[in-house]
Each structure stands twice: as C-alpha cells, then as structure tokens.
C-alpha cells in the first residue's frame, strides 16, 4: 500500500492520469464525520488547513473522521465512504479505531497544525497514487440489500422469489430493504464499480421506479389505501433519512422524514447516537469523572466539566472559592458565545446564507483560540458589528418568523425557553453571576427568529460577562467525597439547564440522574417539523440547537 491510496481508482498510470491525479491532489474536498460543527467546536478550521467541505459524500474525495466516534457514526461513515467515487481516501484526525472503515490513509492528532500536515501528506498520496492497476473493493454491511417480491396491489402478499399474486394474479414486483438503520440511506449500496442503490423511496406507496410494469391503472386504484395528507392532495409518500451526517444539521443528529411531496408528514427522531451516552460513565472514578463527562459533550465540554465538578463538590460538602467561581463563569460564558456562534454558522449553512456561515465560524474559532480574557475582549467590537449586521439582514426575518413555533408552557429551557418569553435561566440563581449584574435575555415569539435574536443577544452578553469576570479559565479542584455522599448541581449550558445527580461508591461515581436540555428539546422535533415544507421543517429543528451528543435514553 506504500505510496498509493487505499481508495485508488483502477487504471494504468499514464501521463494524462498523472496530471489528473495532481489536479485531484490540489482540489481536495472532504466529507466530515461527525460534521464541521464538531471541528469548529474543537477550534479546528478546515478551510485554513486547505480542505473544502462537501455536502454529500458523492462530491467528496476524502472522508475526515474527527475524534473518537461512537459505533453508530462509524457505521454511517462506512456507508458514506462506500458512496464516494474513487479516488478516495480516509483521513483520521485523533479518531482511534475506525473499523468498519478501512485503515486510514493518513492519521494525525486533532490539532490545527497536525491537520494541515496531514492534508499535505494526503495531497502527496493523491498525486502519487490516485491510480493503481489493481484495486480492492470495499463493502459496508449496512448497505447489503434484501430483495423480496410483493404484489403491487396487495402489499401483504410477499414472497422470497418472483411469481404471481394468488389474489389477483398480477406479477409480483421486487422490493428491497437495507440491512442497517440510522444511516444516510438515500444512497444505498456501492460495490466498487457497479453503482448504487436507493433504500429510500417507499415502494409501498408506489415508488416511481416501477410504474412501467403495472400497465394501465386508474389513479383511484393506485392511491387506494395510501395515507392521505393534511392538505388532501394525494401524493407519493417517501421515507428520507436526514442525518446523522446531513449537511444542514448538527453532525450526529438523525431523523427520518416521511415526505408527502415536499411536506414532512411524519418525523421519526432517533434518540441520541448509537453507542454514546452516560452508559459509558459506569466505573469512572471521581478523579476522571469531570474529564469523562466533558468528553461526552464535544459541543460544550466546559459546561459539563463544571457540572461534574459542582455535583462532586456538593457531594463532598466543599465550598467553591470566589476565584474558582469567577473563573468558571468566564470559561462558561466564553464557551456559550462560541457555541452560539457555532450554531449560527451551521444555521447559515442550512439557510444558504454563506456570509453568515463563514463569518460565524471564523469568529467561533477565534474566540475558542483566544488565550485570555484580554484577547476575548479584543474580539468584542468585531463580534458586536457582526451581530448587528446579522439582525439587519434583509429577508432573514421573513424566512424564520412563524417557523418552529412552540407553545410558551412547554417543558423547555435555555435560549429556546427564553425565546418564548420565559425567563428561565439557571444563571439567575448562580452565585457567580450575582456580582456581575446578570439579567437573562428574554424575547417573545417562540419561533426560529426569536431564538436567533436571543442567541445573538446572548453572544454579546456573554462577552460582556467575560470582560467583567476578567478570566476565561479556572483551576480544577478535585473534591474529596466519601462513599455514599450524594451531590446534585445544575448548570446553564449553552443549550439550557443541565442537572446532574451523582452518588459515590467505593471508587467509582454513579450517575443517578443526568437531565440535559437536548434530551428535552429532542421531544419537540415532531412538533416543529410535521406538516411543514422540508426547508421549514429543517429550520425549525435546527433552531432548537439540539446536540445529539447529550441526548440520553
């Protein structure tokens, strides 16, 4: 495998092919797993490392795996990789074990400098080995399809092989189902050169692949028994997965829309990410616990680290001193501003508002890289200008108003609640905030536009709090609790209030309860998306800012 790509394309290297290989090396575009949002939250700028970001694996030459991935995402990544046209390569960035994907072509640590070096190495590999004389095929188990035969008129009549329907005598038509679930299955199988399949268009509803075989049939007969949508228009229903690797949603968030034309009829939301969650917190010592909890929430690690420290502190009965408290406030607020900017960047991508996507992402990374409160302060004027410009964007209010509306009495928290006119904010009771003159930002409307306005105002507010706190880091004091002690704490994370209740056993922490805002908000996905046009449904879901990483059970 020396000097060539694992996903090289078959072909004898010739002068023309060498030229083409060089071009591919200069034009690297990556499909990012879990998503560009996670990269930015880790302070990694993909564009600066010379990588473009592709919206679909079909348009990518590199699959970039970022951080340790849960089993569910590794499977989804394998499916995505199988869909990429050759020449293709795997770039692992601090990813550890990546099976079922093939071994990485280049593996680097998750820092900006290492990534840049990795991309250079990848370019060399592309230029030298994009074409080889013999290639190996890659199969992902999830996309194996199973073919059954069914009667077009009587869906209940199925058989393992071709034949005719015992009830009406019509020829049975083949119907396929894929093996895996939760993957981006609008593309199906791809064995290295034969092509791909589609597991998505719902054949039960008369998938359009097979009209030709049916001969003449009246519309009434064709649509008989199929569900009728709210507008009364009988249209083809098709199941389409959105996520876990969908470009307009946070990486890892998985849903399935049943589309009625371009209206979302039914939403099936997956709970969290396969193979990720508090189960993995079993048998973690008190010393490792904050680190571990932070690791589980890549989009806001500091908030969960502070949550763990505070719950353990309460269990130990230890008072947190002023200085640490202030440091925690600074760190939390910097993270909040960065997290909201990260949300804006992803939202800009969904809305097709490229200026927003780029600039929010750039500011987020700059904010996360700032060394101290002074450097954060120097970003304040620029962020302020950015916020004012976003709010003045023509057509933005029109696009967002009335989308994703939730009733004010719903069990919601964080910016989602504060956009519904509810002054719910765990910080209002927080000791560290009292001296800083904190007032929750509250807006009315309860729709996507109100959520945008709350988050924009909170970005500025958080930077102001950082300035007043004067620090952005704190020293971690590991509290010494005894077995049997119980501690509970609540922290206002960027997405809302998270509550953790822990108890200590001999040498491990037992999580009695972990209540995260995303778990709660996940329950409203159906409410904001159903009976909406696809774009509006996605805007509604995205406006909730659900982090799939913190969705539990």
């Amino acid at each position: 495998m020396k000097g060539s790509l694992s996903g090289a394309r078959e072909g004898r290297p010739s002068a023309l092919r060498r030229l083409v290989a060089k071009a591919s090396a200069d034009d690297l575009c990556a499909f990012v797993v879990p998503g560009p949002d996670v990269a930015r939250a880790r302070g990694i700028d993909l564009g600066a490392a010379g990588l473009g970001v592709a919206a679909t694996p079909r348009h990518a030459g590199v699959i970039l795996l970022l951080g340790e991935l849960p089993a569910g995402l590794k499977k989804a990544a394998a499916v995505a990789y199988a869909q990429m046209p050759r020449p293709r390569a795997v770039l692992a960035v601090g990813a550890g074990d990546i099976s079922p994907l093939p071994g990485p072509d280049v593996s680097v640590a998750a820092t900006q400098a290492d990534l840049a070096a990795g991309v250079d190495e990848l370019r060399r590999l592309f230029a030298a080995g994009a074409f080889v004389e013999e290639t190996t095929a890659f199969y992902a188990d999830e996309i194996e399809t199973e073919t059954t035969y069914a009667c077009p008129m009587h869906p209940g009549v199925t058989s393992g092989g071709p034949g005719s329907c015992p009830r009406c005598g019509m020829d049975l038509v083949p119907r396929e189902s894929t093996g895996g679930s939760g993957h981006e299955g609008h593309h199906g199988a791809h064995d290295s050169h034969a092509g791909m399949g589609h597991g998505s268009v719902d054949e039960d509803a008369g998938g359009h692949g097979d009209h030709g075989d049916m001969g003449f049939m009246s519309m009434v007969e064709m649509t008989q028994g199929t569900p009728r949508s709210s507008d009364g228009l009988q249209m083809e229903w098709a199941d389409a997965p959105f996520g876990p690797l969908f470009p307009g949603l946070p990486g890892g968030l998985a849903m399935s829309f049943t589309l009625d034309g371009d209206t979302v009829a039914v939403v099936k939301a997956m709970r969290g990410i396969d193979g990720w969650g508090p189960e993995s917190l079993d048998d973690v010592t008190a010393r490792e616990f904050p680190e571990r909890l932070a690791f589980l929430s890549p989009l806001s690690p500091i908030a969960y680290r502070v949550l763990a420290l505070r719950a353990l502190g309460v269990a130990a009965g230890a008072e947190t001193d002023e200085e640490t408290l202030l440091g925690q406030v600074g760190a939390l607020e910097r993270e909040r501003a960065a997290s909201h900017l990260g949300w804006l960047s992803g939202f800009g991508r969904l809305l097709g508002y490229s200026w927003l996507g780029e600039n929010a992402g750039r500011l987020q990374v700059a904010l996360l890289r700032a060394a101290d409160a002074g450097e954060v302060g120097r970003l304040e004027p620029e962020v302020g200008k950015f916020v004012r410009r976003v709010i003045r964007t023509p057509l933005l209010a029109r696009r967002l108003e009335g989308i994703g509306t939730l009733p004010g009495d719903a069990e919601i928290s964080g910016p989602v609640a504060r956009a519904s006119g509810l002054a719910r904010d765990a910080r209002a009771q927080g000791t560290g905030y009292r001296h800083l003159g904190f007032e929750p930002v509250v807006r009315d409307g309860g729709d996507a536009f109100a959520r945008l306005r709350v988050r924009l105002a909170e970005i500025e507010q958080s930077l102001g709090l950082v300035r007043r706190a004067g620090v952005v880091s704190f020293t971690e004091v590991k509290p010494a609790a005894n077995a049997g002690d119980v501690g509970v704490a609540t922290v206002e994370t960027p997405r809302g209030a998270a509550t953790l209740r822990v108890t200590l056993r001999e040498d491990a922490v037992e999580v009695l309860e972990l209540r995260t805002p995303s778990s709660v908000h996940q329950g409203f996905v159906g409410a904001v998306a159903e009976q909406r046009e696809v774009a509006d449904a996605l805007v509604g879901v995205a406006s909730l800012d659900i982090s799939p990483w913190e969705v539990t059970g």
Binding site: V20, Q83, P85, M196, S200, A238, Y353, S354, R399, L538
Partner: protein
C-alpha cells in the same frame, strides 16, 4: 468565434463563482477542479431512469447555448439573428426546467426528486417575469430582433429607461440559473446538493459546465436587453459586451451571499402577487412613454 467567447465566458463564470464562494481568486482553479472531476469515477445510481439521468446535464448546456445563439456580441457577431430572437431566448430557457426535472427524477433518490419538483415550482414563479419584461423591451425597439434591441438603446440604456423591468428581469434570470438565493433545487444545506447530489465524475463536470454557461448566457441577455449590449466608447464593441456581461455575472454571484435562501412558498407568492402586476405596470409605463414620445 462566438463559441470561443461562450466557452471563455463560462470559464470566467467558474472563476468568479469560486471567488465568490471560496474567497479565492484563482485563474487555474476551474481547470484543476474540472480535471479532478474528470479523474473521478462517475457512478450511476442502481435504480435509475437511464435516459433522464444521462440526458439532463447535456440538456442544461444545450439550452444555454441555444439561448446564447441569438444574443449578439457585436454588430454582425451573432450566430442567428432571428426575427423572433427575443422570444427565442425565452423558449430555449424553458428547457432548463425540463433538464432539472429530469435530473431530479432520474436517479430515484428522495432529495433529488424533491429538488427537481421545487424547480418546477420555481419556473411557475419566474417564467412570466422573463417574458413580460422582454415584451416591454421589444415594445421600445419595435422589434424582436436582438440586434435592433441593442441599437434601440443608443440614447438611453433600458436599465434606465425601464428600471422596473430591469430589476424584475435580473431577479428572474437569477432564478432561472438557480443562483442563491434562488438555489432551491440544489440547496446544499437542505437537500445535500439536490438535483446535483447523485451526479459524480464527468457527469457532474458536465452539469457544472452547463450551469456556468447558463449563468453567462443569462448575464449576456441582461446586457443585450438592458445594458446597451455592445454600445460604448473607445473599446471595440465585443469587448463592451463581454465586460458588461462579466460585471452582471459578478453581481449575480455575489448578491446571494448576503441573504438567506428564499422559501419556496415566498418565491411563488412574490412572483405572482408582486412580480406579475409590476411587470404589467412596466409594460403600461413603457407604452405611455412611447406614446408620449410619438
């Protein structure tokens, strides 16, 4: 000569588009991307409608080239100086919708299919706003011949003579070329590439070439109908046409960066509720001005 200009135009559109979307000006960028695309596998979906899938990318290109054929670069520099040239532009552009619908249906994928039908809806919104402003342009020129349309603007460009029609046509042209904020059929964030999602390798290269040519053709049509075509001092006539066209292209490409994509319902509602009455008003206004001058 004309096809050379068209090819060069499409090329510059690609350069400008990269500049607008990636923030880097690179003259060799599109060559590199194009070569890279040609070097990649062109996969075919398994349950495709072969004819639709294969025919769509060339059809975009064909309709763009056909429309460009009646648009003059300079006096005498036009492929076909048809008596019905201005109408022919509209007729040729109709096939863009057919191509995109085919590209959406062909691969049998849910995202692409929704995207294809979105563009059908978009056509309903923009098509009248292509025809009606052209009508007003033809009224002033008293001809559908595109070269006569240009010479009719010798005293005053149509952009100033009928600004309303200019704005409507400009926006409608952006909608035909599905440029942001009218990029509903490709919508990377909403439909992961939409009609383009299932195309790879040389087929994707063909699709992108067709799109670039289409943008150039539409910018050329804006130049011919509203910006006085080749008219201008000092420089040779063809240079004026090309220069104006590239400026129009640049504006088209940059405008969409600063606004969110429109909602499909809004595109339709605004097209019919505001666009068509305004286009009628424009025709009426041009009629009154013409009568007043006569």
């Amino acid at each position: 000569m004309i096809f050379l200009v068209l090819a060069a135009g499409a090329y510059f559109v690609a350069v400008l588009e990269r500049w607008a979307t990636k923030g880097r000006f690179s003259l060799k960028g599109p060559v590199v991307s194009g070569l890279a695309l040609l070097g990649r596998e062109s996969l075919v979906p398994r349950k495709l409608d072969r004819i639709f899938f294969e025919a769509a990318p060339p059809l975009v290109l064909v309709s763009a080239v056909l429309a460009a054929a009646v648009l003059p670069l300079a006096p005498g520099l036009v492929v076909a100086d048809l008596a019905t040239g201005a109408l022919f532009v509209n007729a040729a552009l109709a096939y863009v919708m057919v191509a995109l619908l085919m590209a959406g249906w062909g691969p049998d994928g849910a995202y692409a299919m929704v995207a294809g039908f979105r563009f059908l809806g978009q056509l309903v919104a923009y098509s009248m706003l292509i025809v009606m402003p052209i009508t007003a342009v033809a009224m002033r020129a008293e001809s559908l011949v595109t070269t006569v349309v240009v010479t009719s603007q010798a005293t005053l460009w149509n952009a100033a003579y009928q600004p309303l029609g200019f704005v409507l046509y400009f926006l409608a042209a952006m909608a035909v070329a599905f440029l942001p904020p009218f990029d509903l059929p490709v919508a990377p964030g909403e439909l992961a590439g939409g009609v383009e999602a299932e195309y790879t390798g040389w087929r994707l290269a063909a699709m992108r070439l067709g799109r670039a040519t289409l943008v150039f053709t539409l910018a050329l049509s804006v130049t011919v109908f509203y910006l006085g075509g080749w008219l201008g001092p000092v420089l040779p006539p063809w240079a004026w046409t090309v220069l104006k066209t590239l400026v129009v292209t640049a504006v088209m490409l940059w405008l969409g960066r600063y606004v969110p994509r429109l909602r499909e319902a809004d595109v339709l509602a605004w097209g019919w509720k505001y666009g068509i009455p305004l286009a009628l008003l424009n025709i009426f206004y041009v009629g009154v001005v013409l009568l007043g001058a006569a």
